[in-house]
Symmetry: C2
DNA sequence: ACTGTTGGTCAACGCTTGTTGGCACCAACG
DNA sequence: CGTTGGTGCCAACAAGCGTTGACCAACAGT
């Protein structure tokens, strides 16, 4: 498990073990796994298909990641890299957040994989929930007036952002996919801004 | 249930066939299928498990619905029964719509099944898209100022409503599940109202 | 009462899945 | 040199999947 962290290079805090001969294979597996999970979800992303994409034998996946669940856990470790809302003007937090989410969603297929898997897989749903709780919630706390309302406000923000991601990147509704990036930011920013800072209606 | 009537009338429009001896079994299969699809998604909702819930043999499912895909199509035919926005005051369309969606989502597991399946199954995604296009879009047309903007506005409304359904009923985030029905309506209604009627930002 | 249709069970098929253990290779180290 | 341990492929396993066809039981029409 700690080996996978070094392989992802997404999060490698200290513990730099010297490179192994199999590192190329490990990252190839991880890359292929992310693609398959993002495209097909948990059940249909078979180990055989992932191994085929990575041009290695399925048994290698088991050797390096233990099981399919272990592979998913290693492939979907993720850091949102949310900006610090304390240092952005209070009236711009909505726009900043929406824009950042669009960036991270389009540069990286891990979130798509996470969402697609989380809908039918308990481990995926828990991981997604963990991201909201440990990465989004603290940022919401910085921006909202009453700390006790932070969980509800975070839930509202998550509902709008995940909803747009769902319709645009997962279900791929034509109307949602046709929206320009600027239009999405212009429409969603006031919504998120209100969820974060407005008085309870 | 009355669902047997709707099921038969779908496959047999006009000519009302007299009740068959197997109608009880047919509806038992459909009910079990909806529950399993809603709880597990397409792949993990196996025909054997559905047949087990309905206390019949898996081969009956094949006999009556042809294949797993046919069963899903029969189980997830759905009418949103959206209200006529032409006869509601223009400033209340957001609240009306959000409230109606919460009603329909909680009284019926078909939408949960549809969303869970649509994320990993092309047929499910298309069916969901069809519902948005054929049932939500016409209603949005009634409420929005410029007809040409209707598709974009429908996409925005769908993103917020499906996002709340996703986090609350599918992923079951504790923060989203903890929101009261009234709080959701109060927070989401202005958002939907704005997506429907506000000028382009 | 006989017959044809319908409702239902059972056992099996071919296939795919995650997972395992054995065997060959290659590099390093004594 | 030989040994050792990491790297990779291969074949196979048991289990589960959707699907099929044979076969029996109960009803309906004549």
């Amino acid at each position: 498990m700690s080996e996978s962290a070094s392989a992802t290079s997404l999060s490698d805090p200290g513990a730099a073990s010297r490179p192994r001969r199999s590192d190329a294979t490990r990252t190839a597996i991880l890359t292929a796994a992310r693609e398959r999970f993002a495209a097909d979800g948990y059940e249909r992303a078979t180990i055989r298909a992932i191994a085929g994409d990575a041009r290695i034998d399925p048994s290698m996946v088991m050797r390096y990641y233990g099981s399919k669940e272990g592979l998913f856990a290693a492939a979907c470790a993720f850091d949102l890299r949310l900006p610090d809302l304390g240092s952005t003007p209070p009236e711009a937090v909505g726009r900043t957040l929406v824009s950042h989410f669009l960036d991270v969603w389009e540069e990286n297929e891990v979130l798509t994989a996470l969402l697609r898997v989380g809908v039918t897989n308990a481990a995926g749903a828990e991981r997604m929930q963990g991201i909201v709780k440990e990465q989004l919630l603290p940022v919401v706390r910085q921006a909202c007036p009453d700390q006790r309302e932070a969980p509800a406000r975070a839930a509202l923000v998550a509902s709008q952002i995940l909803g747009m991601a769902l319709t645009r990147y997962v279900l791929r509704f034509p109307y949602a996919a046709a929206l320009s990036r600027e239009a999405i930011v212009d429409w969603l920013a006031p919504t998120v801004q209100r969820y974060l800072t407005a008085d309870k209606p």
